[in-house]
């Protein structure tokens, strides 16, 4: 156990080499304050893992829906990642890497995407994985009643099986650049056609052997607990280091912390300013170990330019200039956060390293703008009990200092996003989840969905389509997105505030947490977690 921040930083430095090679977990953390605290090494050698171990994980998300086509929120991925393989996966730089698809290529005119598939994969129910399985899954995702994949799979017009292990996706014109990245999530998770044909709706609550993933669910208590055992025939030996995983939903943060202290849990995820600080204090006191991970999920203030005083460009500009990020990072998060000037974190290909702070903190200038506009009053909403709520409270104080009266609205999580999408809110502080491909992010947050660009007219011209052109290289696409981010900052479409940090508290046997895929999204895949002997 390491007892001081400086010691944690030392540990991080020692492990830096290993982390550079690690998957998504450590991604883009250059300059981040990620700290691997305690023993064993966060990047422990898999050879040292106890393959007979049982690991009990405490997570805030309930395991309600275990059918990827019906998952209605990103938190379910924590469970389905263990059960199902996906066509692709993400690496440490949010670059798409092979999983069930070994390679993929767009047609020169962008009209189709051809995927080559693995030929050595068998579902846990004995069904062989091949191109017909991909066809069946995509068609199911597009047509199943209640499917949550309709929007994600919308760019696909038709699926054509070219041979047993080659499938061609014919795309709607100008769409589909995000598909390889989308296939790393539930839209790309493959379910045995035998299972969904024979068992239908049961899959959501009892998937059994329907996946080809490294773990098989043996006991599902919906919304409470998922018990999984390792599949002995899994095609990839470099994962699934435990014999048994118990993923238990423990909603209350204090209960998760207590659970690790008493040994009822081996590892638990803690988020939010105060709980993270409390957990780190307990790490320093030797109560348990902890891995502090910078999140790639920014806290952002969305501004609806169609409502009230936010219709005035000068008020939106004043808001952007009145936000004192450093004060929030230090005052609210005790330094366990990073000020954000854009949506994508450092290390991700759409992040702009040369992005200038278009609206640096300047309270005097903001105050002058507000005075000239004759004052302003806005409502700022945040989900009840979310990590965004304290940020909204801090914003009320900071904006109040420049003469903007802020009325806070605390709205249940299940309602707030829908209300913002429907244009019923002035402004919302959200803990955003950038999609693996910015084309999806633009669709979800900017041009439709949250529709951050509403009230701004035609902001981007043909830029959005050009940036999402699948025939362009990543560098060419990145340049286009950098232009888009710049326009959004200049027009104060939204105000990125900070990237928070989460801590995974654990006992001294649990290893590999910082290396977990998707750990920076807050919804990790626990496939690679291990327990040293």
């Amino acid at each position: 156990m390491l007892t001081t921040t400086s010691k944690r930083r030392s540990a991080a430095a020692i492990l830096a080499g290993a982390l550079l090679l690690a998957p998504l977990a450590a991604c883009g953390s250059s300059g981040s304050d990620d700290k691997a605290t305690g023993s064993p090494s966060a990047a422990a050698d898999p050879a040292s893992f106890d393959r007979t171990a049982t690991i009990t994980i405490g997570t805030p998300s309930p395991s309600n829906i275990l059918d990827p086509a019906l998952q209605n929120n990103i938190g379910q991925n924590t469970f389905t990642f263990l059960i199902y393989d996906s066509l692709t996966q993400m690496d440490s730089d949010y670059q798409v890497q092979p999983m069930l698809a070994t390679s993929w290529e767009y047609a020169a005119d962008g009209s189709s995407l051809t995927l080559k598939l693995r030929d050595d994969v068998t579902f846990n129910d004995g069904t062989k994985f091949d191109a017909s399985v991909v066809e069946a899954n995509i068609n199911r995702g597009k047509t199943l009643q209640g499917s949550a994949l309709v929007a994600a799979l919308n760019p696909i017009d038709k699926v054509v099986v070219e041979d047993d292990y080659t499938v061609r996706l014919e795309l709607k014109k100008g769409l589909g650049a995000e598909l390889p990245a989308v296939f790393a999530l539930n839209a790309g998770m493959m379910v045995s056609p035998k299972a969904f044909t024979e068992r239908g709706g049961e899959l959501a609550t009892d998937p059994g052997t329907a996946g080809s993933g490294p773990y098989i669910p043996v006991q599902v208590t919906s919304g409470q607990e998922l018990v999984l055992e390792r599949s002995d025939d899994y095609w990839n030996d470099d994962t699934a280091y435990a014999q048994k995983l118990i993923v238990r939903t423990v909603v209350d943060q204090a209960a998760r912390i207590n659970g690790v202290q008493t040994g009822d849990l081996d590892v638990a995820q803690i988020s939010g300013a105060s709980p993270v600080q409390e957990s780190l204090a307990l790490v320093d006191r030797g109560a348990f170990e902890g891995d502090l991970i910078s999140q790639a999920t920014p806290v952002v203030l969305m501004l609806n330019a169609e409502r009230g005083d936010l219709k005035k460009p000068e008020i939106r500009q004043a808001i952007a200039m009145a936000v004192n990020r450093e004060e929030m990072v230090e005052g609210l998060f005790a330094g366990n956060a990073t000020a954000a000037d854009q949506f994508y974190a450092e290390g991700f290909w759409a992040h702009d390293d040369d992005f200038g702070a278009e609206r640096p903190f300047d309270a005097d200038a903001a105050k002058k703008l507000v005075e000239e506009a004759g004052g302003a009053e806005i409502d700022v909403a945040a989900a009840t009990g979310s990590t965004a709520e304290p940020v909204a409270q801090a914003l009320q104080d900071q904006l109040g200092k420049v003469g903007i009266k802020v009325n806070l609205q605390s709205i249940p999580f299940a309602q707030i996003d829908d209300m913002y999408r429907r244009g019923e809110l002035d402004a919302q502080v959200i803990n955003a989840s950038p999609a693996p491909d910015p084309a999806s992010t633009m669709d979800y947050y900017v041009t439709s969905g949250f529709n951050a660009a509403r009230g701004h007219g035609d902001l981007f011209g043909s830029l959005v389509a050009e940036a999402a052109d699948p025939t362009k290289s990543i560098d060419e696409r990145a340049a286009k997105y950098h232009e888009i981010w710049k326009i959004m900052a200049e027009k104060d479409v939204w105000v990125p505030i900070l990237w928070g940090q989460q801590v995974w508290v654990r006992n001294d046997k649990v290893a590999n947490v910082p290396n977990l895929s998707w750990v920076r999204s807050g919804f990790p895949s626990y496939r690679d977690i291990g327990k040293v002997k």
């Binding site: 019906l70 949550a148 994949l149 994600a152 208590t221 209350d252 207590n258 202290q261 008493t262 309602q415």
Partner: protein, 313 residues
């Protein structure tokens, strides 16, 4: 007695209808769209509308309520919006946890509360009485949520005597079951236990001063017989009222306590269903808890008839 029970039942049924309708209407009035909440990431308006129609949310409020209530009286509470599981099944999975918790809490309440109340009444005005009264007054002032946190820190985290989270069914063994329930049950029972103590102390002390008790003792009846057969029975009416009232409160208290101890009961389910706008589950829970409280009240009303035959008329 049967007529008396039927009369009480006739009063209970409209209450059940009124409570469920109020909750139905309140949920409907709340901002946000349950169809959007379950439509997945970035749903199109068409998709949301399709789900709304599928769930019958496009129907008028009264039509939906009548349809829900008609099915509910046939034990069909619909399906969870979260995963399509039958609401009866969802609640059935969780109910044993809450029943166990409430049972242990009320058992502690009765055993400790009655014993302390009796001791205080028998030592009325003496130091023992004063200590018990002071402790009970203190217990009334302590919020159960805070007590729960203190108990976890003391007995789970520091001493390691009890698990801090989770639940084991009785089939796993008596101690595993009880060890997961003792701390939350103590936290839940503190307030009703204190009230039962105070009420029983006061009622028993009053009864013990009555002439018929003096007469019974003068006739040579033993002290335990006088207490058990003559005094305690007459002192039980106010205690029964407090017990019933506090039962509803303990049931409501499980919402917070189950979260602290991560007990997978209906209290935690209620929180989750509110946050996720899982209306069928929420309504099922409201109907069930209302029914439980009404049944307890009915039993208490009937017990008044046992303790005091005059109320039957």
């Amino acid at each position: 007695m049967t007529l008396y029970a039927l009369r009480r039942l006739a009063v209970a049924l409209p209450i059940l209808v009124a409570v469920t309708f109020c909750v139905f209407a309140l949920v409907d009035l709340a901002p946000g769209d349950p169809a959007a909440a379950i439509a997945g990431e970035n749903p199109t308006p068409e998709r949301i509308n399709e789900i709304r129609v599928m769930l019958g949310l496009d129907e008028p409020l009264l039509t939906r309520y009548v349809s829900w209530f008609t099915a509910a009286v046939q034990a069909d509470l619909g399906s969870s919006l979260a995963n399509g599981q039958s609401v009866t099944e969802v609640i059935g999975d969780r109910l044993p946890v809450t029943i166990s918790l409430v049972f242990v809490a009320m058992l502690i309440t009765l055993v400790v509360g009655l014993a302390a109340g009796m001791l205080a009444a028998l030592r009325h005005g003496r130091p023992t009485d004063r200590v018990i009264t002071a402790l009970a007054s203190g217990a009334i002032a302590l919020p159960p949520f805070w007590v729960a946190l203190v108990l976890v820190l003391l007995f789970s985290v520091n001493l390691g005597w009890f698990p801090s989270i989770g639940y084991e069914p009785l089939s796993a063994g008596l101690w595993p079951w009880l060890s997961h329930l003792l701390l939350p049950a103590i936290a839940l029972s503190l307030l009703p236990m204190a009230e039962v103590t105070m009420q029983f102390r006061q009622a028993l002390a009053t009864v013990l001063k009555l002439d018929y008790i003096t007469n019974a003792e003068a006739r040579g009846l033993s002290r335990p017989r006088v207490l058990g057969k003559h005094a305690a029975k007459n002192a039980a009416v106010p205690v029964t009222t407090v017990f019933a009232y506090r039962f509803a409160q303990v049931l409501g208290g499980t919402v917070a306590i189950e979260s602290v101890f991560d007990l997978p009961g209906i209290g935690r389910l209620a929180v989750n269903s509110v946050l996720s706008r899982d209306i069928p589950v929420l309504l099922g829970l409201v109907a069930l808890t209302t029914l439980i409280v009404l049944v307890i009240n009915l039993l208490v009303d009937i017990s008044y008839g046992y303790f005091n035959p005059k109320v039957r008329t």
